[in-house]
């Protein structure tokens, strides 16, 4: 194993450390990997660093913006639109139920024409439910 000595060290004492000696400069894995970046030229290093920073920041901004937008639109929808929608639906279902009830009681003619007695006259019987002949 050869330990590399940094060129910038000018301390006389360090010149005594020869390549054969078994003294390692302690390096973590991260520092070793970082050192590998020295193999690329300056420009490549700089541009990759800029791209990486921008995309990190851009990604964070996009996530922040999307979460805010979703929260604002959903709470606004809940306050402004939801009550009207639910209420209209409830009233529609209630009307349909009433119409169904009327249909069961008085026959499909009454349900189709609204409500009230049949138009044939006072003594006429209400129509029976079932298929009616077309008049």
């Amino acid at each position: 194993m050869v330990s590399f000595i940094s060129e910038s060290e000018t301390d006389d004492q360090n010149h005594s450390i020869t390549e054969e000696e078994d003294e390692f400069i302690e390096e973590t894995i991260g520092e070793r990997l970082w050192g590998l970046t020295d193999m690329f030229p300056e420009i490549v290093q700089n541009s990759i660093s800029v791209i990486a920073t921008f995309s990190m920041r851009g990604g964070k901004n996009v996530i922040w913006f999307t979460s805010k937008a979703i929260w604002i639109t959903s709470t606004s929808f809940m306050m402004l639109v939801l009550p009207v929608m639910l209420e209209i639906e409830r009233v529609t279902v209630e009307e349909q139920q009433l119409q169904q009830q009327r249909q069961i009681l008085l026959g499909p003619n009454a349900a189709a024409s609204g409500y009230g007695p049949s138009t044939q006259g006072l003594g006429a019987l209400p129509s029976m439910p079932g298929p009616q002949p077309k008049s």
């Binding site: 604002i72 709470t75 606004s76 306050m79 402004l80 009550p83 009207v84 209420e87 209209i88 409830r90 009233v91 529609t92």
Partner: protein
């Protein structure tokens, strides 16, 4: 300031004029719209072409905006006769103190039209002994006076006296607030609104304030143009510019935009408001969105066949993440 209450001509929900703004004025706007658009639901008839008085230039649009409240409100209206109506209201709230209001409304014998009668006396008393009272009377044809008094406990807070004359195509009015001849202080306001054509009317307001060594006057100009199913109005003074646009979509949808610019503080607010009148469900919804990132919603639902109305109100501010909700119940 001189238009506290802002009621030029009182209108009736079912026979009597509404109580002063302390109580719930929710019945008023629906009835006024019905009166104003009684010709056809999608266009505006002559009532609102001109003139309605200078203070009411922006009324149509401002009425669209919801009036939110906080806490729990119960309002009981009781008509004692065709002339006299009494209301009790309890307001439980954590933001302001809870209060109980007692109000009375008396409408007199001089009947101009099915919806207007004079004199009108409206009073409202608080559990903190605050009194709010108004008298509106038509002395001779076209000449109306209005007197408003507010007291806080036993102290006079505001007294306002106004006189307005409605001619064939113009309205001129004089109003004074807190006139104090001894101390030489007070506020006087002159309004004049003239209809130029059937659709366009222009007017001016002159406000003069004197007292405590301070003297100041403000002149503002305003106008309103009525289209087939829309109204645009603008008022401008040295301090304030206010422009509104009101549009009737169909008989259940009305919308309005309001721009308010304060030239002193250089702040402007745009609010978009709309009203949905869902007849099928007996429900009226008024919503508004602000440029301050605030949304306001007020829902009123009539619980037929009893004369009950349930009111729900909510304000939500997205920037500060604060919200306020209110529940109200109106009987009668």
């Amino acid at each position: 300031m001189a238009s506290a209450g802002g009621q030029g001509s009182p209108q009736f929900p079912g026979g009597l004029a509404p109580p002063p703004p302390a109580a719930n004025p929710s019945h008023q706007s629906g009835q006024q719209d019905a009166n104003a658009a009684n010709g056809s639901n999608n266009t505006l008839n002559n009532d609102w072409v001109c003139p309605g008085s200078f203070e009411e230039l922006h009324k149509k649009c401002k009425d669209l905006m919801p009036q939110p409240f906080e806490g729990c409100k119960l309002l009981i209206n009781k008509g004692l006769s065709s002339h006299f109506q009494v209301n009790h209201s309890i307001h439980l709230s954590s933001a302001n103190n809870s209060s109980y209001h007692f109000g009375a409304t008396y409408v007199g014998n001089k009947q101009l039209s099915p919806t207007e009668a004079f004199p009108v006396l409206v009073g409202d008393m608080d559990n903190n002994y605050n009194l709010n009272a108004q008298i509106i009377h038509e002395i001779v044809h076209g000449l109306r006076t209005k007197c408003v008094i507010q007291t806080q406990k036993a102290v006079w807070q505001m007294a306002q006296l106004g006189l307005d004359y409605r001619g064939k195509d113009f309205v001129a009015s004089v109003t004074t607030a807190n006139p104090n001849i001894i101390d030489e202080s007070g506020v006087v306001a002159f309004h004049y609104l003239q209809s130029i054509t059937r659709k366009l009317c222009l007017g001016a307001e002159y406000l003069y304030q004197y007292g405590g060594g301070m003297e100041g006057a403000v002149l503002s100009l305003g106008g309103r143009y009525t289209g087939k199913n829309w109204i645009a109005a603008a008022t401008a003074s040295g301090m304030n510019v206010n422009m509104t646009y009101y549009h009737i979509g169909n008989e259940s949808v009305r919308a309005g935009v309001d721009l308010d610019v304060n030239l002193r503080t250089r702040e402007s607010v745009v609010s978009l408001g709309y009203e949905l009148d869902v007849q099928k469900a007996n429900m009226t919804v008024k919503n508004s969105i602000d440029s301050n990132w605030t949304i306001t919603s007020v829902i009123e639902k009539k619980l037929l066949p009893m004369p009950f109305t349930l009111t729900l109100s909510g304000i939500l501010n997205h920037v500060s993440n604060k919200c306020q909700f209110g529940v109200g119940f109106i009987v009668g």
